[in-house]
C-alpha cells in the first residue's frame, strides 16, 4: 500500500549518499507509482504538477510528451527527489523517494550543467559510479571496467580524455546517457535526451533505449522528438499545464498527439 511519503527516507537524512542507502526493492511493486501527486516550484507558489496519478510497470519505456512548461521536467524531478512533493503519495519500486539512490538514474537537461568546468569525458562518466562508492572511496577496478564498457557502447572511447566543454551537443548528450547507464540503475529518467542531437547520437540513444527495455530496465523519457523515436516506447503519456491529459500505448500515439 502507498503511504504518505517524505522526500527522503527517515534514515540517512544527513548523509544519504553511498552504500549505506542500499535497500532491496519490494517484490511485485511497479517501478513508479504516483497517486494524486502535486508539487510547486521551490520558493514560489507556482504549481509545477498537479494531481498526477501514474503507474509504470517494471521493464517498460514510457515517453513523456507535452509543450514547454507542461510539467514534464518537474515530474521527473519529483520522482528523482529533486523537487519537494506538496501532496499525494509516491513509491519507487515500492520504496519512498531517496530510499535507494543507486536504483534511480536521472539524466539532467544539458543546460543545467556547467560544461566549462575542467573535467574529462571519462571522469564525468565515472561520476555515475559515485553513488556506489560513497564518501571517501576511490573508484576501483570494477568501476573502471564499467566505465570502459559504457564508453565503448556509446561510441565515446575516442573522446574519453577530451574536456566536456569541447564536445558537440550530441556528444554531450551521449556522455550524460553514459553516466546514467554506468550507474547500473533499474529506473532511468531522461530529461530531453534527443534535444539538439545529431542523427548519429539519436540513433545511438535509441539503440540504448531498446537495449534497456530488453534487459528489463524501466525508462521514463521527457521528449519533444517522438516522431522518429516512437518505436522504442511502450507507452506515451502526454502532459499539459502540470497535468496528465493522455496516457496511451505507443502504437496509438499519433491519434493522441492531436490532444495536445
Amino acid at each position: 500500500m502507498l503511504r504518505q511519503l517524505s522526500l527522503h527516507s527517515a534514515h540517512n537524512t544527513w548523509f544519504p549518499y553511498g552504500r549505506r542507502s542500499y535497500t532491496a526493492a519490494v517484490a511485485g511493486e511497479p517501478a513508479i507509482a504516483l497517486h494524486e501527486v502535486g508539487a510547486i516550484y521551490s520558493g514560489t507558489p507556482t504549481v509545477a504538477i498537479e494531481a498526477i496519478t501514474l503507474e509504470i510497470a517494471v521493464g517498460t519505456n514510457v515517453a513523456l510528451i507535452g509543450p514547454n512548461g507542461a510539467g514534464k521536467s518537474s515530474l521527473l524531478k519529483v520522482i528523482a527527489g529533486l523537487l519537494g512533493v506538496r501532496q499525494g503519495m509516491i513509491r519507487i519500486f515500492g520504496l519512498p523517494i531517496g530510499a535507494c539512490h543507486h536504483r534511480v538514474a536521472y539524466l539532467s537537461q544539458r543546460g543545467q550543467i556547467d560544461w566549462r568546468f575542467p573535467v574529462t569525458v571519462y571522469d564525468m562518466v565515472m561520476a555515475g559510479r559515485y553513488v556506489h562508492l560513497g564518501w571517501l572511496r576511490r573508484p576501483g577496478r570494477d568501476d573502471h571496467a564499467a566505465v570502459a564498457q559504457v564508453l565503448e557502447r556509446l561510441d565515446l572511447q575516442p573522446l574519453a580524455q577530451r574536456q566536456i566543454g569541447e564536445l558537440s551537443g550530441g556528444q554531450q548528450q551521449r556522455v550524460l546517457l553514459a553516466r546514467a547507464l554506468v550507474q547500473g540503475a533499474d529506473l532511468l529518467m531522461l530529461d530531453e535526451p534527443f534535444n539538439a542531437v545529431d542523427a548519429t547520437s539519436r540513433d545511438v540513444i535509441v539503440g540504448v533505449l531498446a537495449d534497456l527495455r530488453q534487459s528489463g530496465k524501466t525508462a521514463l523519457v521527457a521528449t519533444h522528438e517522438l516522431q522518429q523515436v516512437a518505436d522504442v516506447f511502450d507507452r506515451v503519456v502526454a502532459m499539459r499545464d502540470g497535468r496528465i491529459v493522455a496516457d496511451t500505448p505507443a502504437a496509438f500515439y499519433q491519434e493522441d498527439v492531436r490532444v495536445l
Partner: protein, 270 residues
C-alpha cells in the same frame, strides 16, 4: 649566490617566506574551485567581512586570529543561507552584506586612537609572523588540503552538475557551505601575508593563471601552487632588496605570472 642567501640569514625572513609559501599553496588549491565555480566575488567579500571580527577581538584584547576566524566562518554560513533564498540575487545580497560589515569594521576602528594598530590587518605583516602563527598557518593549510583531497570527487561533481549530485543523495548546498568555510579559513590565514585588501588576489590570480595553461583540475591546482610559491619567493626578495611592501610585491609577482600564462596561451593559439 650571496644575494640569494643573505635574506635567509634573518629569522623573520625565513618565517615570512615559509608562511607565504604555505598560505600560497592553500590559496592556490582552493582558489581553483573559487575561479572555476565563479566565486571570486565571494572570496573578496569574505576577506572584507572579517574586519569587524578582528577589531572586536582587538578592542576586547582577544586573539585577533580567532576574531577573524569567527567572523569569517559566520560570514560563510550567512552567504550560504542567503544564496538559498530566491528573494534577492546572491551577488546583490553579498554586496550589501560585505560592504556593511567592512563599514562596521572601519567604524569600530575609528573608535580606536590610531589606525596604525590595524595597518597589518589591512596590508599584511608577513615579516612579523611568529612561530605560533606559523604553526597555526601550517595546521589550517593542512586541514584545507586534506579536506579538498578527501572530498574532491563530490566537490568536483557539485561544481559542474549540482542537480545530478542531488539526485544521488549528495547535498550540494552543504558541500558549498563546507567550501565557504574552508575559504573563510584560507582568507583568515592569508590576511597575515597580504592583508584584507589584497587577499582575493592570492585566491584568484594563481588559479586564474593556471586555468590558462591547463584544463585538468588536479594539474591546475599544482600549477597554481607552483605560481603561488614562486610569487612568494620573488615578492619577498623584491620587498627585501627594494624596501617595498611585501604583500603588494607578492601580489604583483602573481600578476606577473598571470601575464606570462596569458602570453603562453596566446602563443599556443588558445
Amino acid at each position: 649566490m650571496h644575494w640569494l642567501l643573505e635574506p635567509l640569514s634573518f629569522a623573520f625572513m625565513r618565517s615570512g617566506l615559509l608562511a607565504a609559501m604555505l598560505v600560497g599553496i592553500a590559496c592556490a588549491a582552493i582558489g581553483v574551485y573559487v575561479v572555476m565555480r565563479r566565486m571570486a566575488f565571494i572570496g573578496d567579500a569574505l576577506s572584507h567581512t572579517i574586519l569587524p571580527g578582528v577589531v572586536i577581538a582587538y578592542l576586547n584584547q582577544w586573539n585577533l586570529f580567532v576574531g577573524a576566524l569567527i567572523a569569517g566562518v559566520l560570514t560563510a554560513i550567512g552567504i550560504s543561507w542567503v544564496s538559498r533564498r530566491d528573494a534577492i540575487r546572491e551577488d546583490t545580497a553579498i554586496g550589501v552584506l560585505f560592504t556593511a560589515m567592512f563599514a562596521a569594521g572601519i567604524l569600530l576602528m575609528s573608535s580606536v586612537r590610531s589606525f596604525r594598530d590595524f595597518s597589518h590587518i589591512l596590508f599584511g605583516n608577513i615579516l612579523g609572523v611568529t612561530s605560533e602563527d606559523l604553526a597555526l598557518i601550517a595546521l589550517i593549510g593542512a586541514l584545507i588540503l586534506i579536506t579538498l583531497f578527501l572530498f574532491h570527487k563530490e566537490l568536483g561533481l557539485t561544481s559542474y552538475d549540482a542537480i545530478y549530485a542531488q539526485s544521488i543523495g549528495i547535498h550540494s548546498d552543504r558541500l558549498r557551505t563546507l567550501l565557504l568555510i574552508l575559504l573563510a579559513l584560507t582568507v583568515v590565514t592569508s590576511i597575515q601575508v597580504v592583508g584584507v585588501v589584497l587577499t582575493s588576489a592570492l585566491l584568484v590570480t594563481p588559479a586564474a593563471a593556471a586555468s590558462l595553461v591547463t584544463q585538468r583540475l588536479s594539474r591546475m591546482m599544482l600549477v597554481a601552487g607552483a605560481i603561488a610559491v614562486s610569487s612568494s619567493v620573488v615578492g619577498l626578495y623584491a620587498s627585501y632588496y627594494a624596501a617595498v611592501s611585501s604583500g603588494a610585491a607578492i601580489v604583483l609577482a602573481c600578476t606577473f605570472f598571470f601575464g606570462v600564462a596569458w602570453v603562453v596561451r596566446t602563443i599556443r593559439g588558445g
